[in-house]
Structure formats: structure tokens, C-alpha cells
């Protein structure tokens, strides 16, 4: 298709095999089909039992259900009823997050909770910001190109068609993208607010290219999903249905094709038949019950996020896998990555009211690739963000203010605009999820996550902070407040070419087990400096294709 024709067709080409957008109700936000959802007997051997109804698990379920597979998803959190359960309020959104106990350690402990993972049907994307960039082709071969990180056993080419299809399903809106593998988006860019415009001007003065988007937010007509109303509560769950999450993009179609979601159910073990080494199903505990239940399945896929997936594997011990499923080479839980996510805010003479409009607006990948003159390998991306008041208070506190000084900065909220980076921090085997001493109410040991940065990571973060300061100064900021933070966990069950240095093969299958797969961000060997959700969905989409064609290795 020529570029011009594609431009004319913006918003007109829908996804090929996903009716979610038509199944949604224009006036109600409930997931259509919950009442008429298929139910499978626990004793019935379904084709696939998936742990986790998040980004990875939902796409996998939707794809395979369309091919006639009988699929059950076990989901720890609730089945949302957004009209009643979600609120246009920061503190009131506490229930969306994974707030069960976890222990954090290492030299640079990573704060979890609202910052990192969700719990409930739809997973973390229910309250993710909405940025949907692709990984760059270089991300799949950082070891070969830059001598750091790892090479994936698959390449960008393997994912490209899946990226395109998922971008149509979300749908992604943004300007034509000049970085990585240059591409266009199915929907036009959203208008941007004054707060983001100020920052963009600063970037232009610094010679930094930025583009509007890419965001998974409806801009125009998309089935029964409304246009964004620029209310700015993307991180609290979109009550409008404008922002993409599996709850609106894949689960309606999945339910329509016979998927059962068993909510309020915590998977505690994958069962292995010691005679033949095959998984027989998943053991789980329902909220309010004491006895364990078991769902039998021909295949099992784990998609519980980079903390819970390793935790579940480590807890699934058997004679063949005394140290946890897939952990005979001591690889499970290693190489967990986060992105550096420093944010800097600038003060401007006029009111900007950054709380309006979706937090994700304008971004740049100009610094994504290695540039030896910077003195470190790999790079970072730049994105506008916009904290609501509690987030802004944490930002002010991080700059060392409390009491009267904090109140003064808080009263000045409407004059500030915030920009952040995402640094590609490198994978390290010691950055690891293990089981802690304490147990949760299900009797399962809680996860402990240790994290420390390398010298390369520190150099990357220090350099990118100066770039942010440069943008803010050029934009005319009168004062700057900075918070150092982290975001986006991936890794922990990475894919590779040999069992000695990975947990799954290029088809996400756990080494040494014929029928257990990992279907979330845990499989990523590197993370680039792109937000991961789109890639997680594209990977699950590819996995579904491989499983359906039984081409799996």
C-alpha cells in the first residue's frame, strides 16, 4: 500500500480477527459475556490453562480460542465492573494494584505496588499509562551489536507482523515513527496539551526530535469504543474505554469464543507428572476457600508478570524439578530488568494544568541506540508524563521537601510540567526474584526481588538526566525538581538458545517440559528503552500462531 493511501485510510483499517470493539457496550463498561461465559469442569482436560489475565495471557487466550481451543484463565484478582469499581481518583484506585506483600532488596531496591503491577482481569494494562512503542531491531541482538546484554533467539522480523496486528487492535495513535524500523500508526496523533507543548519547544531548541504518541488510545471511531475525553486518569483505569487494555481489546472476543476466566483464584503450583515430565494442570486457591482446586489441562501457559511468574515456577517443585519448574540450571528468576525512569519537572510562568489529557503525549527515541561518544552502551527514550497530585507530592518529596516547603511546591502544581526518560538498564543474573521466608495467606512464600545497577546503568541514567535538564532549561523553566525512579519489569524466565543460560526456548517452552510455556514479559532477554506492553502482546500473538500450527520446538 502506498504511503498516501495509508494516510487516507487512517482509522479505517480494523484488525482482522478480533471483534472486541463491537462486542463492548457503548453505555456500560462491564466486560460483555461475563454472564454467559463458558464453564469447564476442573476434571475436564482443557486444551490450555493460562495463569494471569494480563497483557500476555489475554492475547494468547483470544488467539487460540478463535482457533477452537478450550481455554481457562486462572486470575488472582477480581473480575472488574468498571462503572462501580473504578474511580476518577488516585487514592481510590488502590485496589487495581498488586499490593500483596513482596520484599525488595539489593543496592537499588525497586519500589513495586502501584508503580509496577496490577491484579485483576486485564492485568497491569488496566492502569498502565498507554505508551505503545515497538522495540527496535537492535534490541534483539545487543550482544552482537554492542557487546552487552543478550541476543534473542528470535529477531524483530519474527514479531513485525504481530506488532502491526496488535497496533490495529489497541488501536495505536501517533505520528509516523522515524526511529527503529520506521513505521506508521493506524490512528492519527491526538491533540496535545499546553504542558506537553512547552516541553516539546524546549526539545526543539536542544535539537531533539519528538513525535506525538504512540499511545493505545482511541482517536476517532473504533467500534463501540468512545473517543478519549482527556480526563488524565489513565493510570487509574480508563472509565471511558478509550484507553487500550486487554479488558477491552482482547477479552471480549476471547469470552465470545469460549474462554473461561476464573477470577479471584490464585495459582499456587503447576502440577508435573513425574513419570513422563508432562504438566497435568494448575493447582489454585479461590478467595475465601481453604482447599486447593485443580484444573486439568493439556498445556499450561504462565503469564503472571515478571515477579509472579518466577515465583510460581520456583514454588512448583517436583521430583524432576526439585528447585522449581524449569530451574534445574538455576536460571529461573534471574535477569529481571527494570528501566530507569527518572522524571524532571520544570516550573513555568503560566498555568499549565498538566493533569489534563492522557499522561503519555509526546516522546523521542533519538537517544535509543548506542553512541560511543556518550561513554556507555545502549540508550534511553524520552517521554512526557504528568503526575496527579499524590504522584506530584512524591516527586516533590523526592527532591527533599516536606512540611511548609512541600506545601508551597504543591500549591504551585498548576505551573509545572514533567518529562521523563526510560533507560535501557542491562540484564544481570544477580538481579533476581527468589522466594522469601514469609508466606502469603495462601501459604505460598512471597517473592523477594533484589536489584542493583551496573556502572553502565548509572552512566546512562546520569547522562539522560542532564538531557532532561537541558530540555527544561531551553523551555524556560524557572525551577526544576527531579525524582529518580524505575518502571516496567521484564525478564525472569528469559528465552534463549540453551537451557544453561535461559528458561524457555524461542517458542516460550520451558526447557525439559513438553507442555508448559511462559507467555508474558518474563521471557524478554533485553528490554530496550521502549515501554513493554505492546511487545508482550506481540510475543503472545506470535506464540499463539506457533502453538496453533504446532510448529513449536
Amino acid at each position: 500500500m502506498t504511503g498516501r493511501l495509508r494516510g487516507l485510510l487512517k482509522g479505517a483499517i480494523g484488525p482482522h480477527a478480533n471483534d472486541s470493539r463491537y462486542l463492548l457496550d457503548v453505555h456500560r463498561r462491564d466486560l460483555p459475556g461475563q454472564d454467559t461465559m463458558a464453564r469447564y469442569e476442573e476434571s475436564e482436560e482443557v486444551d490450555l490453562c493460562i495463569v494471569g489475565a494480563g497483557a500476555g495471557g489475554s492475547v494468547l487466550a483470544q488467539r487460540l480460542a478463535r482457533r477452537g481451543w478450550r481455554v481457562v484463565i486462572i486470575e488472582a484478582g477480581p473480575f472488574w465492573h468498571p462503572d462501580e469499581d473504578w474511580v476518577s481518583d488516585e487514592a481510590g484506585s488502590h485496589e487495581l494494584y498488586w499490593t500483596q506483600e513482596r520484599v525488595i532488596g539489593g543496592e537499588d531496591p525497586i519500589e513495586l505496588g502501584k508503580n509496577n503491577s496490577g491484579r485483576g482481569v486485564g492485568g497491569s494494562m488496566v492502569h498502565y499509562a498507554g505508551y505503545c512503542p515497538r522495540f527496535h531491531p537492535s534490541d534483539f541482538e545487543t550482544e552482537t551489536r554492542d557487546g552487552v546484554g543478550a541476543d534473542w533467539p528470535i529477531s524483530y522480523r519474527d514479531l513485525k507482523a504481530h506488532y502491526e496486528e496488535v497496533e490495529r487492535e489497541l488501536p495505536v495513535a501517533g505520528q509516523d515513527w522515524p526511529w527503529g524500523d520506521p513505521h506508521r500508526y493506524p490512528f492519527s496523533p491526538h491533540p496535545i496539551g499546553g504542558a506537553a507543548a512547552v516541553l516539546w519547544q524546549g526539545a526543539i531548541k536542544q535539537g531533539i526530535e519528538m513525535r506525538v504518541g504512540p499511545v493505545g488510545i482511541v482517536n476517532g471511531t473504533f467500534g463501540n469504543r468512545p473517543h478519549c475525553i482527556y480526563r488524565g486518569f489513565c493510570l487509574q483505569g480508563c472509565k471511558v474505554n478509550a484507553k487500550a487494555s486487554p479488558y477491552v481489546t482482547h477479552l471480549p472476543d476471547a469470552l465470545a469464543h469460549g474462554v473461561e476466566i476464573r477470577a479471584d483464584s490464585m495459582a499456587v503450583r503447576v502440577e508435573i507428572n513425574d513419570a513422563n515430565g508432562q504438566a497435568t494442570g494448575v493447582t489454585y486457591v479461590r478467595d475465601g476457600e481453604r482447599t486447593e482446586r485443580q484444573q486439568r489441562a493439556r498445556m499450561v501457559a504462565i503469564a503472571g508478570y515478571s515477579i509472579e511468574t518466577p515465583r510460581l515456577l520456583l514454588h512448583s517443585t517436583s521430583t524432576r524439578f526439585p528447585n522449581g519448574l524449569g530451574n534445574n540450571e538455576d536460571q529461573v528468576g534471574r535477569y529481571v530488568m527494570v528501566q530507569g525512569a527518572t522524571q524532571a519537572a520544570g516550573r513555568f510562568p503560566d498555568e499549565l494544568r498538566m493533569y489534563k489529557g492522557p499522561p503519555p503525549e509526546v516522546s523521542s527515541e533519538q537517544f535509543y541506540e548506542t553512541d560511543e561518544s556518550r561513554g556507555f552502551a545502549r540508550g534511553f527514550s524520552i517521554q512526557t508524563v504528568s503526575p496527579q497530585p499524590i504522584g506530584w507530592a512524591e516527586h516533590v518529596l523526592a527532591d527533599g521537601h516536606w512540611g511548609g516547603a512541600l506545601r508551597e511546591y504543591m500549591r504551585d502544581y498548576n505551573h509545572w510540567s514533567t518529562i521523563g526518560v526510560l533507560n535501557e538498564l542491562l540484564p544481570d543474573p544477580e538481579n533476581r526474584v527468589t522466594l522469601a521466608q514469609d508466606s502469603d495467606p495462601y501459604g505460598m512464600p512471597v517473592a523477594r526481588f533484589d536489584y542493583s545497577r551496573s556502572e553502565n546503568d548509572k552512566a546512562n541514567m546520569a547522562y539522560s538526566k542532564e538531557i532532561l535538564n537541558g530540555i527544561l532549561h531551553a523551555a524556560g523553566a524557572q525551577d526544576i525538581l527531579t525524582i529518580q525512579r524505575y518502571a516496567h519489569l521484564v525478564g525472569g524466565a528469559r528465552m534463549g538458545r540453551t537451557p544453561e543460560d535461559s528458561v524457555v526456548n524461542s517458542d516460550h517452552r520451558i526447557w525439559g517440559v513438553p507442555n508448559v510455556f511462559v507467555a508474558d514479559g518474563s521471557v524478554c532477554p533485553t528490554q530496550g528503552s521502549a515501554n513493554p506492553a505492546l511487545t508482550i502482546m506481540a510475543l503472545a500473538s506470535r506464540l499463539a500462531e506457533r502453538l496453533a500450527s504446532r510448529n513449536t520446538g
Binding site: 462503572d83 469499581d85 474511580v87 476518577s88 481518583d89 488516585e90 487514592a91 481510590g92 498488586w98 499490593t99 500483596q100 506483600e101 513482596r102 520484599v103 525488595i104 532488596g105 531496591p109 513495586l112 505496588g113 502501584k114 509496577n116 503491577s117 499546553g194 512547552v198 475525553i229 482527556y230 480526563r231 488524565g232 486518569f233 472509565k239 516550573r347 510562568p349 498555568e351 499549565l352 494544568r353 493533569y355 489534563k356 489529557g357 497530585p389 499524590i390 506530584w392 507530592a393 518529596l397 527532591d399 527533599g400 516536606w402 512540611g403 511548609g404 516547603a405 506545601r407 508551597e408 511546591y409 504543591m410 500549591r411 502544581y413 498548576n414 505551573h415 524557572q478 525551577d479 525538581l481
Partner: protein
């Protein structure tokens, strides 16, 4: 006009002032509609609650519930209560009524067992960390200032103790059972979440608040205020106001 011009300058911002200290809030007028903590009027004619009838019912319920009268504390003991209140007051600079009931809101969170989803290795659970911090504040007040407890200290002493807590500079007694600066961040997390979830604080900072199903239309750069939002105001030059306050 004068008011608008004042707010274009950043002279009131702590980083740009000696000792990173803010001006006394009396440089701002008194709130004229609705309520703000201590009635500080940075947006003197703005009351977010005036648009509560446009919010969806679920949100309205969650937000207006924060305005209700609170009963006695459930998690903290009567011995801990004065220290808790004094700590919350200093941390959020609430030196007079009307106050946002931060102590009650923190107590509510801990009594309900709401966790944040992580705990630093080597740190006790959040509820235990809170109790240790309150004990530590009293111990420091006794050791350094010879007072019966933190709440009995004068405002300067309280601020000095919290400053030392923020810097991680306290040791001995309860402090040795904690990582002191992490403990400060655990407490501040809960305190700030309470304070800035309260609609009175939204009035103070001029925040538009819940916006469903209404949404926002005036995103800037030309127009930034919806009809329901109000401009900020200040009648005085903060530099002069503070010079006058100083003896």
C-alpha cells in the same frame, strides 16, 4: 492583574530562597469559598466540591467519604496518638484548623491492613515501622530536648527532629531497629497519600479533580481553565511579605 503577575515569578519557591525555606503562607489571601487546610487561598475562589454533582456516583462516594467525621483511632493507641498527630502536623505544615485529618486517614489505612505492595528487606512490616517511628520520636524528644515526648516539644524542636529523620540522622533506641530514611519514606508515603487525596487539598492547589464523565476540553496552550476551574491569586509580593515578617 497584580495577582496574576505575582504568580508568574517563581520567587516563592523554596529552592530559589535562602536555606530552601518557603515564605510564610500569609503572603496568600484567605480562602473565600469552600475550605482549604488552614484556609490558605492560593486559589481563593475555587471549590472543587462545587462540581461534585458532575462526578460519576462511584467516584463521588469515594471522595466525599473523606469528608466524614472520623471516630476514635483504631490502629494507634491513646499513648501513641499525640505523637502521631504532632508528626502528621509537622510533616504537612498544618499548624491550625481547619486541618485535613491526616492522622485519622493513616490510622484507617493501617487498621484496614491496606499495604503498598512492597517492603524493604531488613525493614519491619509497615504497621510495625510506624509504631517504631513514633516511639523513636518520643525517645529523641526526651534525649535531645528533655521533653516528655515529641508532642511536648516546641515547633522548632519538632521541625529539627523531623529534619533529622528525613536525613536519616537519628540513632539509638527504636531507630536502631529501622533503616531511618526508609522509615521516613514509608511514613511520608501514607501521609502524602492521605493529605493529597482530600478535596480540601485540591482546593488549595487548584486541581480540577475527578473528571468523569465530564472530561477536560481546555488543554492549553491558549485556554487552560474550564468554566468550573478558577485562576490562582496572590495579593502580595512574597519577598516583601516575608521581609516584613522577619524581626
Amino acid at each position: 492583574m497584580a495577582a496574576e503577575r505575582d504568580l508568574r515569578t517563581p520567587r516563592h519557591l523554596p529552592n530559589l530562597r535562602p536555606g530552601r525555606q518557603p515564605p510564610h503562607p500569609s503572603w496568600l489571601p484567605r480562602q473565600r469559598v469552600g475550605t482549604t487546610p488552614q484556609m490558605i487561598g492560593r486559589y481563593p475562589d475555587y471549590d472543587v466540591l462545587a462540581s461534585a454533582d458532575t462526578w460519576d456516583p462511584a467516584t463521588r462516594e469515594v471522595v466525599t467519604e473523606r469528608l466524614r467525621e472520623h471516630g476514635p483511632l483504631r490502629f494507634f493507641t491513646t499513648e501513641e496518638e499525640p505523637t502521631l498527630r504532632a508528626f502528621c502536623d509537622v510533616a504537612t505544615a498544618q499548624d491550625s484548623d481547619p486541618r485535613i485529618p491526616v492522622a485519622e486517614m493513616v490510622d484507617d489505612k493501617l487498621a484496614a491492613g491496606r499495604l503498598d505492595g512492597y517492603r524493604y528487606a531488613g525493614m519491619p512490616r509497615d504497621p510495625d515501622a510506624w509504631r517504631l517511628v513514633l516511639r523513636g520520636l518520643d525517645e529523641t524528644a526526651r534525649a535531645r530536648y528533655g521533653r516528655a515526648g515529641f508532642a511536648a516539644c516546641d515547633p522548632q524542636a519538632r521541625e529539627a527532629i523531623i529534619g533529622a529523620l528525613a536525613e536519616g540522622l537519628l540513632s539509638g533506641g527504636a531507630w536502631d531497629e529501622l533503616d531511618v530514611s526508609r522509615a521516613f519514606s514509608v511514613c511520608m508515603r501514607a501521609i502524602l497519600e492521605a493529605f493529597y487525596s482530600h478535596p480540601w487539598a485540591w482546593n488549595e492547589i487548584g486541581y480540577g479533580g475527578p473528571a468523569y464523565p465530564l472530561g477536560y476540553m481546555r488543554l492549553g496552550p491558549l485556554a487552560v481553565r474550564e468554566p468550573r476551574e478558577r485562576r490562582g491569586a496572590s495579593a502580595e509580593d512574597p519577598v516583601r511579605a516575608v521581609e516584613e515578617l522577619q524581626p
